[in-house]
Symmetry: none
Subunit: 199 residues, 4 copies
DNA sequence: GATGAATGAGTATTCATTCAT
DNA sequence: GATGAATGAATACTCATTCAT
C-alpha cells in the first residue's frame, strides 16, 4: 500500500498528527500537511495512495505498537488483577505520552466517514481481542465471576477506558491520566459498591 | 434560535433523521432533507438558522425527553440499586425503540465537526448530571463505596452504557438491548468479580 | 440529459463556442465559460451534467440542424448533379456563416479524448448517411458510374469537403468557401481529368 | 533540437509509438514511455527537449521517409496516371505495413493541442508539395483539365486518401488498403461519373 | 551519460445559503 | 409564508520536468 522506506513517510505521518490536532480534521488539507512536513504536495503521493491512506497509515503506525506494547506487558504479569492493572496503566500511559495523538484518535478521527472508520476499527479489533483474553482467563481462574458475560465485560472495560481518556482529552489534559489507574482498576473489579482493599 | 411553531418544524426534523439514517451523515444534503420533508430548500431556513441548527435541534428534540423520561422513572424508585436499574433500562429501552434514531445519535452524528459535537455534548450534560446525582446519592446512602471517585464512577457508567448501545447498533440491532439491563446493572454494581445475588 | 429550458442553456453553449475558439480547447476552463456566459460556475451544473456534456450538447445543438438543413435542401432538387451541388453549398455555407463555430468543430473539438470524440462521431453519422443516399441514388439513376464503390465514393466526397473546410479554417477564413461550390462539384463529378461542361 | 546519436533515441521513439497505440494519446505519460523504452524518466530529457519533442520527432522519424519513398517511386513513372497510381499505392502500402503507427498518426496524434498539430503539419507540407507537383505536371501535360484549381485538386486528393486511411484504421484494419488503389485512382481521375476504362 | 525522487502548478465539481418573485 | 434558481468558495490529485548523486 504505502511505501515505508525513507524518512519522509514518518515526517508526513507526524505532520498529519500535528496538523489535525492543531487545525481539526476538517481543516487538515493535504497541502497543509505537506507544508508542515516540509515537502511538496506531490511528494505526499509518492508515499501514500491518497489522503485517506495517510489517515489509515497514521492510525496503524501510531496505534499498531499500542496493542503489542500492552500485550507484552500483560504477559509479564501473573495474576488477573495485575494483568488488568497493566492493561489500564498501559492504555493511559501510551495516550498520555502524546497529547496531540490522543486528540487525533479520541476526537478528530471519529469525524471521518464510515468507510475510513471501518478501516480504523479493524486496527482496534486486535486490542479488543486482548481484552477478551483477559476476561476469559479471569473467568477460568475464578477471579472473575463465573457467570460473567464476556462481551458485556469487554464493553464495560473498553467503554470505561475510552470514556475516561475522552474526558481527559476534552479537559485538555489538565489532570493526570496514569494516576487514575488503580482507582479505575478497583472500580472495574468490584464495581460501584466494591470494597477498596488497598485504600 | 429555531422557531418551533408549525408542523413543518417537526416534519423537517423527522426527515433529517430518516435521510441521515438512510444515506449516512455525509450524504445528508439540505436539499435531500427538504425533499423528504416535502418542502422547498429555502423553507428549511424559515425554521432553522442553518444546517447545523437542524442537527442540534434534532438532538435536542429527540433526546430532550430522554433525560426527563429517565429522570421521572428514577425518582419513582427508592433504593439506589433500583434507581440504577431504571437508569439502564430506560437508556436501553428508549434507544431500542427507534433504531433509526439510535443509528443517527450513536454513529452518524459523531462524524460531525467539533463545534457541532460540542453543542451536542451540551445536551448530553443534563443526562450526565442525572447520573452524577445517583452516584452522589449512592455514596451518601452507603450503597456505593465511600471512597468512590464520583467523576470516574460517572465515566464508567456512561462509558459502559454508550459502548453497549454502540455495539448493539453496529450489530444492526440483532440482539435485545433491554434484556441486558440486569446483567449490566450487576456488573456496574459489583464489577468483574462481583457476586450475582439475584441469579 | 441536459435541461434545455431557459435562455441560460443557450447562453452557456454560445459562451463555450466563443471561449474555445478564442482560447483553444485546452484553455477552455469551466470557470472561463461561466464568466463569458455571465453566470456563476455552479450555474453551469444546473444545465449540464459535466464539462463533457457542455461540449457534446454544443455539437448536437449547433450541428444537429446541419444535417436537417442539408437534407431539406437536397430533397428539393431533382437531378443528382443539383443534389450534390446543394450538399456542397449547404456544407460550405453553414460553416462559413459562423467562423468561430467552424474553428471549434474543425480543429479544437478534434483534440478531445476518445470517448468524447466517439459521442461526436455519432452526430456525424447522420450526415454520412445523407451522402450515402445521394451516392446510391446517383448509381441507380445512371448519373454515377455503375461500378462505383459506394463506401469509397462517400469517403471521397466527405474527405474532400472536410479537407477544403479545414484548409479554409486554417487560412483563417481568408477566402470564400461558398464560391468554391461549383468547382468542387465539377471535381467530384468528373475528377481531375473531367470536362467542365458548365464553364 | 533532439540529439539523434545513440540507440536510445530510437528506442524511445519506438516505445512512444507502442505506448500511444496501446494506451491512447491521453494515457501516454512520459514515465510510461520511459518504462517501455527501458530507461529512466530523466534519460528521456537527454535525447528530447520535452514531451512534445518526442511526438514531433516520432512523426518526423517515422513519416520522414514516407515522402522520400513516395517521391522516388513517382519519379520512376512516366505517365501522370501511373504517377498518381503510385502515389496512392505507396500511401496505402506504407501505412498498411505498420498498423500501430497508422493508429498513432491517423487518430491519436490528432488529439494533441494546436501548437503540436501545427508542427506536425509542417512535416506534412513536404508531402503536399509532392501532390502539388503531380497536379501541376498533369495540367501541363494535358492529362488533367486545363482549368483545374491546383489547391482544390490537392485537397481532393489528400482529403480522399486521408479519409480512406482513417476509415481503414477505425475499422481496425479489417479490409485491405492497397487493394483499393486502382479504384481510388479511377475515382480521382474521372470522378463519380467517370467511365472506368480499365475494368 | 544515467538515474529517479522530488517538485508544484493547475481545475472540475459540490452544496449550504440567499433572495427575487 | 413559500419557493427554487442562482450563487461561489473550497480542494485532492496528476504528471512533465529538474537536478543532486
Amino acid at each position: 500500500m504505502s511505501k515505508r522506506k525513507g524518512q519522509k513517510f514518518d515526517k508526513i505521518i507526524d505532520a498529519a498528527v500535528l496538523v489535525i490536532a492543531k487545525h481539526g480534521f476538517h481543516q487538515a488539507q493535504v497541502s497543509k500537511i505537506a507544508k508542515e512536513a516540509g515537502v511538496a504536495d506531490g511528494t505526499i503521493y509518492l508515499y501514500f495512495k491518497n489522503k485517506e491512506d495517510i489517515l489509515i497509515s497514521l492510525f496503524q503506525e501510531k496505534m499498531g505498537s499500542f496493542v503489542e506494547t500492552s500485550n507484552l506487558k500483560i504477559k509479564q504479569e501473573k495474576t488477573i488483577e495485575d494483568k488488568l492493572n497493566v492493561l489500564i496503566s498501559s492504555h493511559f500511559a501510551q495516550l498520555e505520552r502524546d497529547y496531540h495523538l490522543a486528540v487525533v484518535t479520541q476526537l478528530e478521527l471519529r469525524q471521518s466517514k464510515v468507510e475510513l472508520r471501518q478501516r480504523i476499527n479493524q486496527v482496534l479489533k486486535g486490542y479488543l481481542l486482548l481484552i477478551d483474553e483477559i476476561v476469559q482467563e479471569g473467568k477460568k481462574s475464578g477471579t472473575f465471576h463465573v457467570d460473567l458475560d464476556p462481551l458485556l465485560a469487554r464493553q464495560m472495560i473498553f467503554g470505561t477506558l475510552d470514556e475516561v481518556v475522552s474526558n481527559w482529552v476534552m479537559s485538555e489534559g489538565k489532570f493526570s491520566l496514569t494516576n487514575q489507574t488503580n482507582t479505575v482498576q478497583e472500580m472495574l473489579l468490584h464495581g460501584l459498591t466494591g470494597k477498596k482493599e488497598r485504600g
